[in-house]
């Protein structure tokens, strides 16, 4: 892998040869020489500059107070896994889901090798909780009295296809189901919309007494008629379109 050696003859002999062979000056060697690189000068080989630091690592220490959304650990890959009351983000960031105190622990029963980050509600609580102990759960809700107008009364009973008969709730059968459902009262729906429910809107056609031919599976005669009608329509449209095209080109 050595570069080819160029043997340079001593000057005297060169001069001699010059003098003797004046007619052939091309035998002089070029003054500038090319020597190919033996080592890459750029790129990975020369330890590219490291770039800005990504600020990875622990953002909260053990038993430090965190609130929901606080970032506990930034990492590339999963050096740490989310444990109790923690979540993992798109870039494997571990964050808190509950207010509490950070704990770093291992849970050999769940996984023998993983390291977990968890959040406990009381300072000094240990993780993991014993396998058969009930989970510690936080309600995280506040109750308030409901406004009376939002309480549905007995009229909500018809929903779900259930009717009351002989003191018990029964599934509405084909016989008991009324043919055309009456328009239901508009009500406050999710997203602050005052409107009737979707199933009620879906039966609007029946309410308007729109009659539709009953679908019959395998009715080839109807299919044939429809096909012919469609073909005729298409032919007509094609004829129209071609005429237009001609007109536009002129």
């Amino acid at each position: 892998m050595h570069p080819p050696r160029i043997r340079i003859p001593p000057l005297a002999t060169t001069c001699r040869s010059c003098l003797s062979l004046r007619s052939r000056p091309s035998r002089f060697l070029p003054l500038t020489q090319h020597r190919p690189a033996s080592h890459a000068s750029q790129g990975r080989a020369n330890k590219a500059a490291p770039g800005p630091g990504k600020r990875l690592g622990a953002k909260k220490g053990a038993s430090e107070l965190v609130v929901p959304g606080n970032i506990i650990f930034r990492q590339r890959g999963t050096h740490w896994f989310p444990g109790e009351n923690c979540g993992m983000g798109r870039d494997h960031t571990i964050f808190a889901k509950e207010k509490g105190y950070v704990t770093f622990y291992k849970d050999p029963a769940a996984h023998p090798k993983r390291k977990y980050i968890g959040v406990v509600f009381q300072r000094g609580e240990k993780l993991p909780v014993p396998r058969n102990a009930p989970r510690r759960r936080r309600l995280g809700l506040v109750g308030r009295e409901r406004v009376l107008s939002t309480i549905a009364t007995a009229e909500g009973m018809e929903a779900g296809g259930l009717v009351e008969s002989q003191g018990t709730m029964r599934q509405e059968g084909m016989k008991t189901r009324s043919k055309v459902p009456a328009l239901r009262k508009v009500e406050l729906r999710p997203g602050y919309q005052y409107r009737e429910s979707n199933w009620s809107i879906g039966r609007a056609a029946e309410r308007a007494n729109v009659r539709v031919r009953e679908y019959k599976r395998g009715d080839r005669f109807l299919a044939w008629r429809k096909l012919n009608a469609r073909k005729a329509r298409n032919a007509e449209r094609r004829a129209l379109g071609s005429r237009k095209k001609k007109g536009s080109s002129k």
Partner: protein, 429 residues
């Protein structure tokens, strides 16, 4: 819409029904003989099908194979069809020859081998019974102490039960009867087959739901179901973990408890809700929705409708309809079947309802299932679960049941922020 069968294909129907009609005479009734007599029947049918009233069908639970016929059978005769629809359809074109008369030599030879095996197993069973009787009479000192003797007897009994199953497990008739749903649950072989069938899918599903919904650490420490429990409300069957409308679960559930070991025993049934919001302590409490004791259950008597239980003899807490307040997370309702083991102070395992009622008082709230089963010779043998959440019918249900404090709506607590840390002043100079 599909046309009724008797109007579309009279010829096919005639063909289909021919062996079924001839099934009375077992002696390999080849359909060739009966064709002449069947033909005029077919003509009769075609003529009648033109007239509006259809001919009355002779519906056989063994051979009905269309949904319509099944429904008709159930409606007119009140009989459920036997086996799978595919099997019933296959039976229509089979000669229904019993296994003993099948004209296949290899099959008959194989049956002989199985028969011999069965006979040898039966001999072993009688031998084992004899041995057990002998060991019971031997004094404990001679066979190395009371514990050793008991262990030996238990092992022998276990082997005897194993032999009973092995004697019948290869019998094609037994397999057929079990698949037809005609198995007698008093016999160990049918209980064994039913147990295997339950463990193949339903128990796996139940165990998955138990772990997914954290029933095991939340309500009790461990459960190993050995009895199949199915649950329904009225006509509606409920799959484990299904959401049930509050109006549906307003009436008491009906349970079906299939135990796979012999003998009658008493069970308690408890319905627990471990997701009751407890705002003061900012956590969840539990509530008992139903508690009944001393319910007799055996492999053959399986149906337990909770509404039909005797108030005085069984029920500690009557059925409280499951409900969830608006905005609260869904409630899990776990139905436990708890076997009451025989003890020295109650020979049959009965529990005194009156004392239990007194000790429990009226405290459904904060009912602890662990405390209830601890130290009372009660162990859960089966369970089922469903879920309930606030829906349109909850208000009506709650008002009808006179439940107080339902008029609450839960909203999320505003998340607190960490206190702002002011940086030291030197940085801003």
């Amino acid at each position: 819409m599909a046309l009724p069968t008797y109007t579309i294909r009279p010829a096919l129907r005639c063909l289909r029904r021919a062996p079924a009609l001839g099934s009375g005479s077992i002696s390999s009734s080849h359909s060739f003989k009966t064709t002449t007599s069947k033909q005029d029947e077919a003509t009769v049918e075609t003529t009648t099908s033109n007239t509006p009233p259809p001919p009355p069908l002779d519906l056989d639970p063994n051979t009905v194979s269309t949904r319509r016929e099944e429904r008709l059978l159930l409606r007119t005769k009140g009989v459920h069809p036997i086996g799978s629809r595919r099997r019933r359809a296959a039976l229509q074109s089979s000669d229904n020859v019993p296994f003993e008369q099948m004209p296949y030599q290899c099959f008959q030879e194989a049956r002989k081998v199985l028969q011999e095996d069965r006979e040898s197993k039966l001999e072993q069973i009688t031998e084992m019974r004899r041995r057990i009787a002998r060991w019971q009479n031997i004094p404990a000192e001679e066979c190395g102490g009371e514990v050793a003797k008991k262990g030996k007897l238990v092992r022998m009994q276990k082997y005897l039960e194993e032999l009973k199953i092995l004697a019948d497990i290869n019998d094609p008739v037994i397999k057929k009867r079990f698949e037809d749903g005609m198995g007698d649950m008093n016999r160990p072989i049918y209980r064994h087959l039913a147990d295997q069938k339950w463990r193949a899918y339903k128990r796996l599903l139940l165990m998955q739901r138990i772990s997914q919904m954290h029933i095991v650490p939340d309500i009790l420490a461990h459960i190993d179901p050995t009895a199949e429990v199915s649950l329904g409300f009225g006509r509606r069957n409920v799959q484990p973990g299904e959401f049930v409308d509050s109006r549906v679960s307003e009436m008491p559930a009906r349970l079906n408890i299939q135990v796979f070991d012999k003998g009658e025993r008493f069970v308690s049934i408890a319905v627990m809700d471990p997701d009751v919001p407890d705002e003061e302590r900012d956590t969840f409490g539990s509530r008992c929705h139903f508690l009944a004791v001393n319910i007799p259950v055996s492999p053959t008597s399986t149906s337990v409708p909770l509404s039909k239980l005797n108030k005085d003899n069984h029920i500690v807490y009557p059925w409280l309809p499951p409900y969830a307040q608006k905005g609260a997370p869904y409630h899990r309702l776990a139905v436990f079947v708890i076997q009451q083991d025989k003890t020295s102070f109650s020979a049959d395992g009965r529990v005194d309802v009156e004392t239990l009622r007194k000790s429990m008082g009226r405290r459904r709230e904060r009912f602890s299932f662990r405390r209830f089963t601890q130290g009372k010779n009660m162990h859960p043998i089966g369970m089922h679960l469903f879920r309930s959440k606030w829906d349109d019918g909850t208000d009506g249900v709650v008002q009808r049941a006179d439940i107080e404090g339902f008029n609450v709506e839960f909203t999320r607590k505003k998340p607190e922020k960490l206190p702002y840390k002011k940086k030291d002043g030197a940085r801003y100079r």
